[in-house]
Symmetry: C2
Subunit: 142 residues, 2 copies
């Protein structure tokens, strides 16, 4: 949570959750911390966390209700996703390319990142599952 960063706080939270799911630190069915609690941990307003969770809901990555709070629930992508992803990827890959990275260097770095990701759907978390550190998934403060 870098307050000085150009990227908005709610975006940073959203991105942390996205990466957290991909890397297996947050699993399908797992609950995210309550908005007010996470906001207190980060020292920010709970509306900012609420906005991040709402983004994740719109993206089909969490379900959110009064009963359960925000729960990781990865849905299929929207129809336009591949095209949008391609557009963004073109820009980021171009940046690396312009900086002199070869095709193989760029792909190697992508592989290193992808190797950190874990398969989804392989492990199902029971409703009352609790980790070693509490009832909620952790969203890193780093």
């Amino acid at each position: 949570m870098d307050v000085g960063s150009e990227t908005p706080l709610y975006q940073q939270i959203r991105d942390q959750v996205v990466v957290g799911i991909a890397e297996g630190r947050l699993r399908d069915g797992e609950a995210l911390p309550p908005t007010r609690q996470l906001a207190a941990d980060f020292g920010i307003n709970f509306h900012t966390v609420h906005k991040a969770y709402d983004l994740l809901r719109q993206d089909g990555l969490v379900r959110v209700s009064r009963k359960t709070g925000a729960v990781v629930s990865v849905q299929p992508p929207s129809p336009g996703f591949p095209e949008l992803w391609r557009e963004q990827a073109r820009v980021w890959l171009a940046e690396a390319w312009l900086r002199g990275w070869t095709r193989e260097q760029v792909l190697q770095r992508c592989v290193e990142i992808l190797d950190q990701f874990v398969e989804r759907g392989s492990q199902v978390v029971s409703d009352s599952a609790g980790g070693a550190s509490g009832a909620h998934g952790e969203v890193s403060e780093g």
Copy 2:
């Protein structure tokens, strides 16, 4: 140039130039259109174009002076670049991963994009070089 997009106009222009250089449509030494001209072509304010060019200058991708205007000139990256790139790449690779794309599918799509890019420094453009459509490089309106 999508005015309805969430991404700011100046960012869109910057990104178009970045991709344009990577794909060889804009070459090292080539001049970008004057700010007022490009602004007129896009139907936007010339300050917005100026801001895009200034971003590119800060990124070390164009030189800009009263004499020459904005000229493509790709400099080495700043020291923090690899880390920043990695952070961003993690997020959008995670997005693809969460949507069910396999490692190979993701890499395949990266390869398809990288295959559109051309080597830099292989061809040097003479000072008076003009394409079929004018003295300045084209920044696509699509």
